[in-house]
């Protein structure tokens, strides 16, 4: 009743190919745009905006990983390393050549794409768990290389400070400025991914995921498309690394270690493999969950236990609850938050009827 799919008639090819053909979808997108572009940044405190910035960065990274793991079916534990490649490329360009941030962003993404394609070469021969180990090797090798090659790392500390991005004469330094800066790229990433997966390349990816031998037989060059998947996914990862560097003001490979790769895998698994909305949900969930748990514990814990015990309990409980909630969600809905949302949506599609 709420979502009317009938009576929506299109008279041009553009209308037919639109991302959101239904009026309710158009309205929802408009409302969300107003919410995220106007309401949230102008009403929330800088602390909450900093959390939102962390979420946006995670969304871009999760989208990239979902293209590789969810749509192409290539398991990869190397995402963190590609982020650090992008971060260090941008940091080196910014400090050595004083290049402006668009150049750094693009260069970081392209360098990460190149490295990602190289790390993805084993995907021709191996699949699944074996490919995961090969990409893990890529992650560790890239980490070690950055750690030891001082040309890349900029010294023993392996930290490079980058100047804040400038837009004309304005320097983007506060969390609010960063919020808008990141939101633009998040929108670009989401729209890009949504268009990618319904294009020819995206269909090739899905074919490779589902039945790669059949895909090869009908003429899809799977080696080329697998490398393209790695490259595109690593481009997203490189962008994430560069944006994270600009967010923090410093590039340091210790922020992109294997724990981060696992975090992103957790994001897309919880959110839902093979869906754009799933990546977004997963990124929001995994980034916000520790913070929400901590806030909850701080609010409630003081009632039952003395302060010292609460302090010791909060971080440990946070880790436990994080794991427990992940397990809980995967039991309740193995296909992720995306499927949960789809179920709710299809319920309301024919509401108030039951079927």
């Amino acid at each position: 009743m709420i979502q009317r799919e009938c009576g929506v008639l299109k008279t041009s090819y553009e209308a037919d190919m639109a991302l959101y053909p239904l009026p309710i979808a158009k309205w929802t997108v408009a409302i969300l745009a107003v919410l995220f572009f106007a309401v949230i940044p102008l009403s929330l405190h800088e602390y909450y905006l900093s959390i939102a910035n962390l979420v946006w960065i995670a969304v871009i990274g999760a989208l990239g990983l979902n293209i590789l793991v969810g749509y192409t079916g290539q398991v990869s534990i190397g995402h963190g390393a590609f982020m650090s490649v992008g971060a260090y490329t941008a940091a080196n360009l910014a400090t050595r050549l004083d290049s402006p941030w668009p150049v750094n962003l693009l260069a970081g993404g392209l360098m990460a794409a190149a490295v990602g394609a190289v790390v993805g070469i084993p995907s021709l021969r191996i699949k699944g768990l074996y490919l995961a180990i090969a990409t893990l090797a890529g992650q560790l090798i890239i980490e070690w290389t950055i750690n030891h090659v001082t040309f890349i790392s900029g010294g023993v500390q392996a930290s490079i400070e980058v100047p804040r991005p400038r837009l004309g004469t304005m320097v983007l330094s506060s969390q609010r400025d960063m919020y808008f800066f990141l939101l633009v790229f998040v929108v670009l990433a989401i729209v890009g991914t949504m268009n990618l997966v319904r294009s020819r390349v995206g269909r090739a990816f899905i074919a490779i995921r589902d039945q790669d031998i059949a895909a090869e037989i009908i003429g899809i060059d799977i080696f080329r498309y697998k490398l393209l998947a790695f490259a595109i996914s690593s481009f997203y990862a490189g962008m994430t690394g560069v944006l994270y560097t600009y967010f923090l003001g410093i590039a340091n490979y210790e922020q992109f270690q294997i724990g981060v790769s696992i975090d992103y895998l957790a994001m897309i698994i919880i959110g839902g493999l093979g869906s754009v909305l799933g990546s977004i949900f997963g990124a929001i969930f995994v980034t916000l969950l520790p913070i929400v748990i901590r806030l909850g514990m701080e609010a409630f814990g003081g009632l039952f236990l003395p302060q010292q015990v609460v302090l010791n309990l909060i971080p440990n409980l946070r880790l436990m609850m994080f794991g427990a909630l992940i397990v809980f969600f995967l039991i309740v809905e193995p296909d992720g938050l995306n499927r949960l949302w789809r179920n709710i949506r299809s319920y309301f599609r024919i509401w108030p009827f039951a079927y």
Binding site: Q157, S159, N252, N312, L319
Partner: protein, 414 residues
């Protein structure tokens, strides 16, 4: 079933509503932002250091606070990861923290730019960027304890004393954790190797630092080092002690940097008897024999509670007390200099730069923090594992300060 669920939801809503009216503390409280690592690779440190911090703040509050104002230490755990550390920094800022006790080398690197922009002083005692000792270049970063460069020079000085006054022709092995924090002292050690004439070889231990059999064998039997300087942290120091014992290398020729030097490390290595002879470097006093610790025990007795078990792990606990004490001194200086009792991060920064001759009964070295020198002199003490406990070997000293100053200047010019 449905009624039960509705009842539960109503109860939760009521509870949240009740809590919403509970406001934290007095309006005149001064907030200190504390970062900790109670669950993470260095939890062996965090689970003891942070209670020490809180206990000192509790002691100060129980005596009426600083210049009549109570303190509140807001602790947020970050599991040694950077994004939670950034988020906790923003949270502390929101709560109005005037000073931050940062924890972790990647964290202080990540927050350095933000601390300087927001003009809130952050401390990084015993870890972090050694170049940050330069107070002019990094006005809001305070190492307030010997940085890795000062620890390196102090270790070489101690080795020189132990090897008969001269290092010419001797062989020193530097075993370290292979990450930026671990590699920081290398340039200073190489400098000293050139000037003192000893042969220095590096032995890198890859993370997570539990496999070093090959390196230890190399040190003991191939390189045959005359002295070993060990810069490991987390779970690695105990492994190194065990491995050195296994190959038969005498532990009295080994000195560990400040994070390889706690009771927990010795106990994990098999106990004090097993680690007999091991030298440790400390930047805070060791043991329970300090007046401030007695006062803390008194405070707990007055509350009718036993002294916390973390006090037994004196190395890290005392460091927590030291860090808290220095923050409190800076706040005290800031409050004394402020006319209307309102202080900001800038005031506390100036307060830090006035600290000198504050020793807390010997727990804190006689640091002298100035606007140019945020390290305070790079003072360390050496304690040895002897007869089942730590025994003091030297008093507070700093070595080769000219070499360290030269490197700081070189780093600042980059």
């Amino acid at each position: 079933m449905r009624q039960f669920v509705i009842g539960l939801l109503a109860a939760l809503v009521a509870l949240t509503g009740a809590l919403g009216t509970v406001s934290p503390g007095a309006a005149q409280e001064i907030v200190i932002g504390l970062q900790c690592d109670r669950t993470g690779p260095t939890q062996i440190v965090g689970t003891v250091l942070c209670p020490g911090f809180h206990d000192y703040i509790g002691l100060v509050n129980s005596k009426g606070g600083v210049e009549g104002r109570k303190l509140r230490a807001l602790e947020i755990d970050h599991e040694y990861k950077v994004p939670p550390a950034v988020e906790s920094y923003e949270r502390h800022k929101k709560e109005g923290a005037v000073t931050m006790a940062v924890y972790g080398t990647p964290q202080i690197y990540a927050l350095a730019a933000k601390l300087t922009e927001d003009r809130i002083p952050g401390t990084s005692p015993g870890f972090g960027s050694a170049a940050a000792a330069d107070g002019i270049r990094y006005p809001y970063i305070f190492p307030i304890a010997a940085t890795y460069w000062s620890q390196g020079t102090a270790a070489v000085h101690f080795a020189k004393q132990q090897l008969g006054g001269s290092l010419k022709g001797k062989k020193i092995a530097f075993i370290f954790y292979d990450n930026p924090a671990g590699r920081e002292p290398i340039e200073v050690l190489e400098d000293l190797a050139a000037s003192e004439g000893f042969q220095l070889r590096m032995f890198a231990v890859p993370p997570p630092g539990v496999e070093m059999g090959a390196q230890i064998l190399d040190i003991a039997q191939r390189f045959r080092a005359d002295f070993v300087i060990s810069h490991l942290f987390g779970g690695a120091p105990s492994v190194s002690i065990k491995e050195l014992k296994r190959v038969g290398y005498p532990l009295r020729k080994v000195i560990g940097f400040v994070w390889a030097s706690a009771e927990a490390n010795i106990e994990a290595a098999g106990g004090f008897a097993a680690a007999e002879g091991y030298y440790t470097m400390q930047f805070a006093g060791v043991g329970t024999d300090y007046p401030v610790l007695d006062e803390i025990r008194e405070m707990y007795k007055k509350q009718g509670k036993p002294a916390p078990k973390e006090m037994a792990s004196t190395v890290y606990y005392n460091r927590g007390v030291l860090i808290a004490a220095l923050h409190v001194e800076a706040i005290r200086n800031a409050l004394k200099a402020s006319k209307d009792g309102k202080i900001t991060g800038v005031d506390v920064k100036n307060g830090f730069e006035k600290i000198s001759n504050f020793t807390l009964g010997g727990l804190v070295p006689p640091l002298k923090i100035t606007p140019a020198d945020h390290e305070g002199g790079g003072l360390v003490q050496i304690w040895q594992v002897k007869g089942g406990k730590f025994e003091k070997v030297t008093d507070w000293y700093a070595a080769y300060t000219d070499v360290v100053a030269k490197h700081i200047k070189k780093a600042a010019s980059k």
